[in-house]
Symmetry: C2
Subunit: 569 residues, 2 copies
């Protein structure tokens, strides 16, 4: 391809509003252009990268036995009403009406649409297992789109849905997808961690996210040297155990305006670990108090599961005051008017402090078991760096990550709510069990760039680079251009993806563009040719520069390409 | 691929509501499934066919120098307001608001989005010409979706937009697209006519539609043996000339309840060709009378252009009565209170009949030139079979067609309204001129099936068949299955796209499915093998059956595949 025919527009300046490296470089290189908030166009070079990632995904999905289909992007509202998500999904689900006032939805995910197809087609165990997938447009009406294609509104996603007659089948389908996902990320040149993820209130027996470690990641992950790694939403950890204090008498004491745990620690001259924090949540409409050790945070998912509710939000302060007669900061589990859920971290505490459910008053000398009425106990602390690993007791560390994929044993949630049944081998109607598996295609590219960039721009892995070789003649006329064209034709004949920078621009600016665009190999036809009839070959990734004679150029390029592929496979 | 792993569901019954062959066969073969009105899912085999057509399109577009991009499907309302189409597009343009109450549109076409990209990128003549295209989802909120994927609401379209600095450049871009389109249709196995099309009120200097002749087509086309072929909306024709009658005196006569042209011909005992029809239209809000010879019909596009209006509808009868004091059926160009546009066909008429603008009254003995006040004259009759060709005067015939593509010299409509300029070689700001080029991907497939089907099902051209060879063992165990698997592996090794029907079904039903699904070649492993160690090879298109020994099977299949490709290229 000729550069002049490729409609490439690079820019030197870092665009305003682009906070992270991948977003900056994707805009500067012109791979994408912003159309409107959270809406991006993939320009010709960007489309080539997108297609390469899509091809990698398709190849691995097909190899795993999944079948590609193309359902409509626009789905009818009825399906969402049938599954119940019409009411539970928030404003991210963009709803509208057609000319006949029928409800339509821009699908952010397609569980309903795929399950509907299975409902209408699969009759018996002989039709299953099946794993159907699409690589299609999605829309999620993000309240604040950011980070370019990482959190945009319209995006390309590969989503797959497997249907099996039993859990054993689902395990197999899930494992096949896990393997395919690892292959996809590897082939895209991406280093990912499969991370234990929360399966939330949907239940199901397993879920993993594929995380790209990144300081700009929106997910928090804890990991241990032993290999344990999990999203904090899911992670378990062992907390340090405090030596129990001696039992002492319960007394009520004034704590004027002492509301936070840090203020209390100062006031009572103790460690936050020796205090108790109380939160009030509204779980399925009912207020519940959750108590946990002063230095710990609540894992909301675990708390929700422990309470056994469907939905949970922090309670409204006015309502708390109405029901507990005390403001936040002075709440506690003694003589409490609502149910109290206690984290295991506080059960053995003695001589501690808890709110007295009265403004500016706390109890001290509290023994939890002696003085508090606990409805339910369990483990709902949030795992954090510094805690111990539940597998090996080593100290956990934590990092941030970008989620590029999620695999999920979904179970029967949708097949049940939408009434899907098939006949098993005994001719009995059973409900199939479902797995769902998503990959953000654009996110992969952004994540690759986060991991593969330097001050000069993108360093594309060979497998997804828009072109493998860029030929840059320092002059676009005379002998240099002729030689550049000769190599161009030579490489084209060998089906090596090559772009010839035929623009009448300064050599320096052409080099800068080639670096910014991240072509793995650059061949310069310039001074070396004039001086010693050799070409300069530069490897983008290593910066290595070779001076190569004309009759060796093809071999050299082939060797370098092999070397670049070697890194991936 | 194994049939049992392909999630294929065929059905014997012709589905209700499917009126045309392609729709019936696409549903019966399970290539597509209906999700909701005008919304279809492409199932695994259908997706394979879709991908093949998309690959053909992409290959030819790239060969023609066009560049693929992927803009968002959802476009912001502002762009449509900027171009003016926000007001002129009807309800087919589906509009809605996001969570921030911003107007959004599901793009039925992307002139605005592409022109915006050009506006923001192209600086000078050096950046042009460029031809950008997408193969992407489109949505058109059809009031009555029908004919399956031919007129559905969500569909895949390839749309391209070229931008040139002058008309000469546009000509070149247009011709390149015309050639690419002919290649695309040919490679898809489709016989099309490029047909002169109307460029409507947008103007522009040329437009062609690619029509697939079909009795279920929604477009009417006239053609001549000399090669002239045009959409009736665009077509010109020569009408028979009537010998002028002698001049005679004008008299008013009672015509009680004689309203139609046929009734008048009976009443006055003459040919409809000797009478004048009058229509009243509302053009940009103003009533205008159009008069034409009694046997002819009005070409609304030509009449609109002649009047010079932007919008035109048939006038409301009440308003006609208010302004002309007479009901429809008795209107005429004598003493008429509104402007009268006369078709050339009536100008020389004498001793004819026109309405008297009074209920139950006509004038007879009318000489048009002597008695009528004509505001403007011109040619706005609709070309019809039986008229003469304007090129060679032979008699025209007509047929119906399905439009599968449209190429269009759009000109500066959008670049002007959206304020796009680039610098020309003299450093002057000029407005680029645009061409737009659309192909309906799903429509190609439906049209191919309309042209390539028989009583047993689809007869896929080899280039877009989901698989090239189907192997059908009559028993799925023992020696027959073993031999079938051997051939399957043999063909797979040769990268021949093969499906092995491993279902434990009656042979007859497997044959029926293979025929319905239209695989070009079927290999049966059954009685012939048992009796004489040969395979039965059947060509779907011709019905030809060969008996082939094991060691000849690969050569035979390769020969037949070559033969099938030979038909296309």
């Amino acid at each position: 391809m000729l550069y002049s025919k490729s409609y490439i527009f690079t820019q030197k300046e870092t665009p305003k509003d682009a906070e992270i490296v991948s977003h900056q470089l994707m805009l500067r290189s012109g791979l994408i252009r912003k159309s409107a908030a959270g809406l991006y166009s993939w320009m010709p070079l960007g489309k080539r990268v997108l297609d390469k990632v899509i091809n990698i995904i398709k190849t691995e999905m097909d190899k795993a036995g999944a079948l590609e289909i193309l359902p409509p992007f626009v789905t009818q509202g009825e399906l969402w009403q049938e599954s119940g998500r019409w009411d539970t999904m928030g404003k991210e689900l963009l709803r509208f009406q057609d000319r006949h006032d029928h409800d339509l939805v821009l699908g952010p995910t397609h569980e309903e649409a795929f399950t509907q197809i299975i409902k209408e087609t699969a009759q018996s165990y002989q039709d299953l297992p099946v794993n159907l997938y699409q690589i299609n447009t999605k829309f999620r009406d993000e309240i604040r789109p950011r980070y370019g294609v990482i959190r945009c509104r319209e995006f390309i996603m590969k989503d797959a849905y497997s249907y099996d007659i039993d859990d054993e089948g689902l395990d197999k389908s899930y494992k096949a997808m896990r393997k395919a996902y690892l292959n996809i990320f590897k082939k895209s040149g991406l280093v990912v961690d499969p991370v234990l993820a929360d399966s939330g209130k949907i239940g199901g027996s397993g879920s993993e996210e594929f995380m790209v470690p990144s300081t700009v990641g929106e997910e928090e992950i804890v990991r241990c040297t032993c290999g344990y790694v999990a999203n904090v939403e899911k992670a378990d950890s062992i907390i340090s155990i405090r030596e129990a204090k001696k039992e002492t008498a319960l007394t009520k004491t004034q704590t004027p305006n002492i509301k936070t745990i840090d203020d209390l620690a100062v006031f009572f001259q103790c460690d936050t670990k020796d205090l108790v924090k109380a939160f009030v949540v509204e779980a399925d409409g009912k207020l519940v108090m959750a108590c946990i050790r002063g230095d710990l945070h609540i894992n909301e998912v675990k708390l929700l599961n422990l309470i056994g509710a469907n939905e949970m939000v922090m309670a409204d302060p006015d309502r708390i005051f109405t029901e507990l007669k005390a403001p936040i900061g002075f709440l506690g589990a003694i003589d409490c008017a609502i149910d109290v859920i206690a984290d295991n971290s506080i059960l053995d505490m003695q001589d501690t402090v808890v709110g007295a459910n009265e403004k500016d008053m706390h109890y001290k000398g509290v023994s939890i078991k002696r003085d508090c009425k606990i409805t339910k106990t369990g483990d709902f602390h949030l795992a954090e760096a510094g805690h111990q690993c539940i597998q090996c007791k080593e100290v956990l560390s934590s990092y941030k990550g970008i989620e590029v994929g999620h695999i999920f044993k979904l179970g029967k949630k949708y097949t049940e709510s939408m009434g899907v049944t098939v006949l098993n081998q005994n001719n009995q109607a059973i409900t199939p069990t479902c797995g769902c598996y998503g990959i953000g295609v654009g996110r992969i590219i952004a994540a690759v760039i986060e991991q593969n960039a330097d001050d000069n721009g993108i360093v594309f892995p060979i497998t997804i680079a828009p072109y493998h070789v860029a030929i840059v003649p320092t002059l676009v006329e005379g002998e240099l251009m002729q030689e550049a064209q000769n190599i161009y034709e030579l490489l084209q004949e060998q089906s090596i993806e090559t772009i010839l920078d035929d623009r009448n621009e300064r050599a320096g600016s052409k080099f800068k563009d080639a670096d910014l665009l991240g072509f793995p190999i650059r061949i310069t036809v310039g001074r070396s040719w004039q001086e010693k009839q050799e070409f300069e070959v530069k490897v983008r990734r290593t910066g290595e520069v070779l001076s190569v004679a004309k009759d060796k150029i093809l071999d050299t390029i082939n060797d370098l390409l092999k070397q670049e592929y070697g890194i991936i496979k």
